[in-house]
Symmetry: C2
Subunit: 489 residues, 2 copies
């Protein structure tokens, strides 16, 4: 954190702000490999908490983890026609290994449907083996032309759920259930509200019957697709001969789903909550919830204040907020660095709470507690610090979600809108626009061409306008669906 010059503001250049804040909060760094990033401990600590939480949620819904190979034989990718068309242009290919040219080239997995369903075919014989509910935490590679830290990198980390079911309806329930898990996680933990809905054919996953998604609004009013869940139908089952004996005694192809979220969520967190002083991490995902900054002018004061800080950290760390969950406290005891420089650094890193503690505070049995999101400062008694900190963290978690929701709704348009006005908006500040669509991919493509906005999804019932739009935004024909239009990452 040697660089003390001010961050570019979000207003001045949101994109420059994003890159600067990711680098300066030490979430990630550029690597010497084109398009690949290094996730530094500050960023990885957030990802670890995301992983742990989601993993618990997956297990609570009956899924088990497994691990499948990094490499996929080229011929496998070709077995599902749409799938290969979607992924072939962006794969990395291993042609040589062990000093020799390979007989068949190996693809570095861009996603694992093909290799996983080929294994499922080996394991599933009867309806008794279903449902098969598997998740994998892994790295994947997609050769992207334009990359952005966390948002779009050549290699990224993710989880991919893969399941097999006896019927279409069971697979549909699973695909929707996991979309719900994603929503619960994103709103409950990232404090990032999302719209759930279904992708149009143009944006559907290559090989899926239906793709569902969660879409979040960033502070520049652009949408971030934060996760997807696919009902794959029997497409992969047919390609990989994943058959089973039905209860009635016949045979049928299994029905599959797949669903995934990635390190992109860290980028979503930054662009949802960050401000001109740095990132802001929601308490539930913060590796450190409270940092204590001791204030002193001489060695004696330093000794006294650090002793008190250690005692407080010990008490808070042992303070049983929720069962088996302790407050995560850090004391910034670095010597030779001014308190102000420390404040600046911890604000940049988005640590939820800061406790400033000096000799005069100690004399008054208090400290000064500063919230990162509102930057509100107030004196707090050391007697009730545990309760106070825990309540403030809960309030902050809640308030961050509410603020993000307010911002999204303030920048959403649900009233009738002309295409001219739509173009103005998309050329200006952007918005989430709910408007009619005739269902013709040509209209969808024309809007993208003319405004860079796309249909993010056909929103689920609860996100639709009170009165459904009657005409298509672009052609004015009869609307078959209300669509959510926005520019997107």
């Amino acid at each position: 954190m040697a660089d003390d010059k001010k961050l570019t503001t979000r207003k001045a250049d949101f994109s420059a702000w994003y890159n600067e804040v990711v680098l300066r909060s030490e979430l990630a760094d550029y690597s010497p490999v084109r398009g690949c990033m290094v996730i530094r401990p500050n960023g990885y600590g957030i990802w670890e908490r995301m992983q742990r939480t989601l993993d618990d949620m997956f297990k609570a819904t009956g899924h088990q983890n497994a691990y499948f190979p990094l490499f996929i034989p080229e011929s496998f990718l070709r077995k599902e026609a749409e799938h290969v068309e979607g992924f072939a242009p962006e794969v990395a290919v291993v042609t040589h290994a062990g000093g020799k040219k390979l007989e068949e080239a190996l693809i570095v997995r861009p996603t694992s449907e093909t290799i996983i369903y080929s294994m499922f075919a080996k394991w599933v014989q009867s309806y008794r083996d279903l449902p098969l509910l598997i998740n994998q935490w892994a790295n994947v590679v997609r050769w992207e032309m334009r990359t952005r830290l966390f948002l779009r990198t050549t290699e990224f980390l993710w989880q991919e759920g893969h399941t097999a079911h006896a019927t279409h309806d069971e697979a549909e329930v699973e695909a929707r259930k996991m979309l719900g898990v994603y929503r619960d996680f994103m709103e409950g933990y990232i404090a990032m509200p999302v719209i759930t809905g279904q992708k149009t054919d143009a944006e559907r996953f290559a090989g899926a019957l239906r793709t569902y998604c969660v879409e979040a609004m960033m502070q520049d009013n652009k949408a971030l697709q934060a996760g997807t869940s696919h009902n794959l139908g029997q497409n992969f089952a047919k390609a990989f001969d994943l058959k089973f004996q039905t209860e009635a005694g016949g045979t049928d192809y299994a029905w599959n789903t797949s669903w995934g979220v990635t390190t992109r969520m860290v980028g979503g967190l930054v662009m949802t909550h960050g401000d001109d002083n740095g990132i802001v991490v929601p308490p539930l995902l913060a590796p450190i919830e409270l940092v204590i900054v001791p204030i002193y002018r001489n060695d004696e004061e330093r000794t006294n204040v650090l002793e008190a800080a250690n005692r407080i950290a010990g008490l808070l760390g042992a303070w049983d907020r929720r069962e088996s969950s302790r407050l995560r406290v850090h004391i910034d005891a670095r010597d030779g660095m001014k308190p102000g420089a420390k404040y600046y650094e911890w604000e940049m890193r988005g640590i939820p709470l800061r406790l400033e503690l000096g000799p005069r505070d100690l004399a008054a049995n208090q400290g000064v507690l500063v919230r990162r999101d509102t930057r509100a400062k107030r004196p707090v008694s050391l007697n009730t610090l545990g309760e106070d900190v825990a309540e403030t963290l809960s309030a902050m978690q809640r308030d961050m979600l509410a603020a993000a929701l307010d911002r999204r709704e303030a920048n959403s348009i649900r009233t009738a809108i002309t295409y001219d006005r739509f173009r103005e908006i998309m050329a200006g500040d952007g918005a989430f626009v709910y408007a009619g669509w005739c269902g013709d991919p040509a209209c969808e493509a024309a809007v993208k061409e003319e405004t860079k906005a796309t249909i993010r999804c056909i929103p689920d019932e609860e996100f639709r306008s009170a009165e459904a739009p009657t005409t298509c935004l672009r052609c004015g024909g009869v609307s078959t669906n209300e669509a959510l239009w926005a520019k997107a990452y």
Copy 2:
């Protein structure tokens, strides 16, 4: 688990037994990609517990996790002369990506020293930035000619610690400390005793100053190198210009260590504890510690027994054995499957304890508890089941380590031995032989050529014989070191 025929016994063919038991306990499966395996949920569940435990131990010793790219530019590998020589023959190479031939080929990481120290060079300026203590959980690829499930696979999962220090001595302390962490984990959790020591130059990590290792004895008396820790000296720091300002105001190259353990440990667990009925999982690493098998002959009995099983599982699950640790209990409620078939399957999978529960047991307020390691059966009162199960699990964990230790010592030779006798032993049952070595790599190579045995390590003080051997096992010259000789995986 359709295959009900008996396992090949360990005595008949240890190697065939190993493959069968790994497949039939559903720890792993072969994949369609040469040399790559699929880790199935039973195996991954063990790996997850290994990961979680080690991760806590790494954090408790001050390390933080981060993530570095999968790909390494070919030129990076070439920067450290010994390193490239060691790894170049076994790398997988990406030559094409995004539909084009790459200007510079990318190596799929076989290990990450080069990419990580190139980043450290960017982050470290001053002695104040040291030590830098980083760990990464990742997949790596080494193109192996002969592969074995878990023991040697083309792709494997591991952790690699990478640290930078201001002095040689600090790096040395770190390398030894992490070797100690490995030993604590392997003995405390895998119940697999290890010998610690230093590798000879012939077996040293390519690019290291010194390599330390932990070596375990498998049931066929062969050694398994279960983990390594390297003092890298300044070799990589010089190759990647990892310099820092010293406290005295000069500049110096940093001193590095790296250390790693892999999914191979799961193979070690199997070959340390498995028997002719399947694998045996040490309680602390078992995803399920106790399986309840209900016994019944009709629907009414089934209802009653399952109701009791659920009540017992609920009580055990809530039973606070250690702080924030609950017993992990599973009820095998599958209908249409005989209890005996269930016993067979759970024994194959190595679940530590089984509780058999039938109507007559319930009437007597008891169950029958069966330990997987000893297969000892005894009636237990349901009133004190929590304490009883917890104590039995602790005893089993302890006994498994003791049994493995006894077996190792019974198959270790520390008394003077002729080379002829040594050759007989290595041609027969094998052993860990502690014998003298003159320090000449030629003798080491000749023994390997003639007997397939290698120097596993120069053992640490505590593992050496009471009287140091005076002559070299092979040439009869003056011994400079007591060496541990054995055939190895």
